[in-house]
């Protein structure tokens, strides 16, 4: 179980660094989402299920959705073409 925890911790560090270094904002949000998910598993291992439920619902769910809506509002979610998403 210790090894599993260390793997998750390493994943957290990698996520935290790659959030800042990824060029696209959309990728940053997805990485941030996975960070929250791993964090909730770690809360579970630390025997605090209360926090795990809240982290999964708020960190991975609602916060990311709000980020997505904001990206849409500032038109940062466009593909390279810029017209692709308007057709759909």
């Amino acid at each position: 179980m210790d090894i599993f925890t260390y793997i998750l911790m390493g994943f957290l560090v990698v996520c935290a660094i790659s959030v800042t270094f990824s060029k696209k904002l959309l990728n940053s949000i997805l990485i941030f989402m996975s960070y929250s998910l791993v964090m909730s598993v770690i809360w579970m291992l630390l025997e605090s299920p209360d926090l795990a439920i809240t982290e999964a619902a708020v960190g991975a769910g609602v916060t990311s959705v709000l980020f997505f809506v904001t990206l849409k509002k500032i038109n940062a979610m466009m593909g390279e073409d810029g017209n692709d998403e308007k057709k759909g």
Partner: protein, 327 residues
């Protein structure tokens, strides 16, 4: 000549283009230089002639180099300070940590008898420290109000600016709520069947799970905040699948107003009496009941329901305000 019947050789010798008509192609627009473009370029080179390039100034070059060195130095120093601080923290789970004082001992030993909650965490945050939780619920409400001030759109268009009006008095060029509604649908899938079927399965399960988490807050992990967040996520999924027309049948601005008002007022009345009696913890008068039953532990269950309602409304209101500027 026989070779040229093959499609590959026809392509190889340049007679046909096999990709023609299959790949979407767009002719490149011809670049035309307008007079204003030329003037702009000339203006740029003129300014550059007058001021010189950045490389000509020794001080600016030195500053830029120093800036980078200082940035790296600051980052490394900050990381070092934080790591040194972490190394001074007591070992996790040690017996003589400062956390293990009489407060936590009291919570663990007599929490069940005094609050009646099997889940010690809920007993702590909604009984011993209920006033902190009241502040947190109010913070959520204030955050919604702030987002409302920043992102809310008007129902009708404002009067156009008159000539000669000072800049700060001119109405901002904002969308009305009808325009936002029509613009809202540009990127969203309209009546997506996959999303609607999945939401039809998931939303009731999410609601029931959220209600379960709230009602069992004093028995099992979870509580008002987690359950409220789950219900809020279900509301957001429902809104995404079926649009604003469906959600406005049961959740409008008025609903949000009254639900938040009643929850916060009930919480305030139920818990702030101890504030007026010298912050002594007074008995609520409700019998604690048998630990483990749903109807037990006095005021914790109603307070959990209040917090859950406030959190669910806040999540939905955030999403609706971010997306459309109203709900």
């Amino acid at each position: 000549m026989k070779r040229k019947d093959n499609a590959f050789f026809r392509w190889f010798f340049g007679e046909t283009d096999t990709m023609l008509g299959r790949v979407e192609m767009r002719p490149q627009q011809e670049y035309t230089e307008t007079a204003s473009d030329i003037r702009e370029v000339m203006q740029d080179s003129l300014t550059q002639d007058q001021t010189g390039d950045e490389e000509d100034f020794v001080l600016i070059r030195v500053f830029h180099r120093l800036y980078r060195v200082a940035a790296v130095f600051f980052c490394v120093a900050l990381i070092a300070v934080l790591l040194i601080n972490v190394s001074w923290l007591p070992k996790n789970g040690g017996a003589d940590n400062p956390v293990n004082n009489e407060v936590s001992a009291r919570y663990i030993e007599s929490g069940l008898q005094e609050t009646g909650a099997v889940n010690i965490v809920t007993g702590m945050i909604l009984d011993y420290r209920a006033f902190d939780t009241f502040g947190e619920s109010n913070v959520l409400f204030i955050a919604t109000v702030t987002v409302l001030i920043l992102l809310r759109l008007d129902k009708e268009k404002k009067a156009p600016a008159k000539k000669g009006m000072p800049v700060y008095q001119r109405p901002k060029d904002e969308l009305t709520i009808a325009q936002a509604q029509s613009r809202d649908r540009i990127y969203e899938p309209k009546n997506n069947v996959i999303l609607q079927v999945v939401a039809g399965f998931l939303v009731p399960i999410l609601f029931i799970f959220g209600i379960y988490v709230i009602l069992n807050g004093h028995l099992s992990p979870g509580g008002g905040f987690s359950g409220g967040a789950i219900i809020g996520a279900g509301l957001i999924l429902y809104l995404n699948a079926f649009g604003f027309e469906k959600t406005e049948r049961f959740f409008t601005e008025k609903t949000y107003k009254w639900v938040s008002f009643f929850s916060l007022t009930f919480y305030c009345l139920a818990k702030s009496y101890s504030f007026f009696t010298g912050a002594n913890h007074l008995e609520s008068g409700i019998p604690l009941g048998t630990p483990g039953a749903i109807l037990s532990s006095g005021l914790i269950l109603p307070l959990n329901i209040c917090v859950g309602l406030v959190v669910a409304c806040t999540m939905y209101a955030f999403y609706a305000l971010f997306r459309k500027g109203g709900f």
